[in-house]
Amino acid sequence: MSAKNKFNNKYSWIFMAALASALLIFGGLRDSGPRSQQDRIDAITMRLACPTCQGESVYVSRASAAEAIRAEVARQVGSGLRTDDETIAYIEQRFGSEVLLLPRSSGIDSLVWALPIAALICGAAALGVVFRKWRTADDGAASAEDSALVEAAMASKNVTDLDA
């Protein structure tokens, strides 16, 4: 591969990575417009775990504790005094962080988010190092040992041809 092609290849990868990151950030931050109160109640209750059930959100659970939480969320959304995050924080202050279906991004809970990303970066870096090493080791040039073997084989072949 020519130096120019290598240069173009490298910058096209950087461009693709930057574009993918920008789209991810845009997708994550974009405002989807005004929501109804019911949309907010549904979104909040989907992020809360039913405190008396296994693996059910407050949104789907029919347990009385989940129904009481749904009613409280509806009251708070209806009053308009709290944002979605503040309403979730209110429930968390009462029931503890176990009630959160999405772990927090602070404290030891943040490891849940950080560890996979760190593992991905470390894995990609390790693969890069290994591939680079393979490329360096296999540069196409024959070693002196290989050359000696070939020369010996050729010499042997010439002797056989002459004998014939």
Binding site: P51, T52, S64, E67, I69, E72, E92, R94, A126
Partner: protein
Amino acid sequence: MLSEKKAKPVAPIAATVVGIVLVCLLLVLVSAKPNPSDNAESPLLGQPAPAVVTTTLEDKPFDLARRKGSWVVFNFFNSTCVPCRAEHPQLLTFAQNQLSTDNPAEMYTVINDDDDSAVLAFFAENKGDWQKIRDNDGSIAVAFGVAKVPETWIIDPNGYVRLRVAGQLSDGLLDEQLSLLKVQFGS
């Protein structure tokens, strides 16, 4: 002759890093403190009690803020719940014992997801002449983080939450805990 590069030992380094991470996680697990007492944890302990404004079964207004100056005991109750029924004798004994103490605690049953008539019938049959307060919309239970009844809470005379007992009360637990709290926080 080309010189051969000595390969770096990647596997031992990776194994060491993974080992260190596992040891750290193990340390976090081992250093986690168990709860040795009957008292349940709650983010509300040591915090001002949530506002409780409701009515009693006799349709009288109830406001927790107006109970300042007294120790208040809330027992979250449902007449169909087996542990709630089973702990009733302990509550009767506690209420009786409080009559002979200085500054007796005020006791309230908080009706959780139940009919007034069923609660009245239960208390008519099993006694207990303390006040029963309504929580028809479940807001008091949510404000205290009560997921399952029975739960018993103690609030000090300054309005701070001091104790949460999740589940059925054992013999003498409330008397013992309230005495300790009175020593610790003053009666």
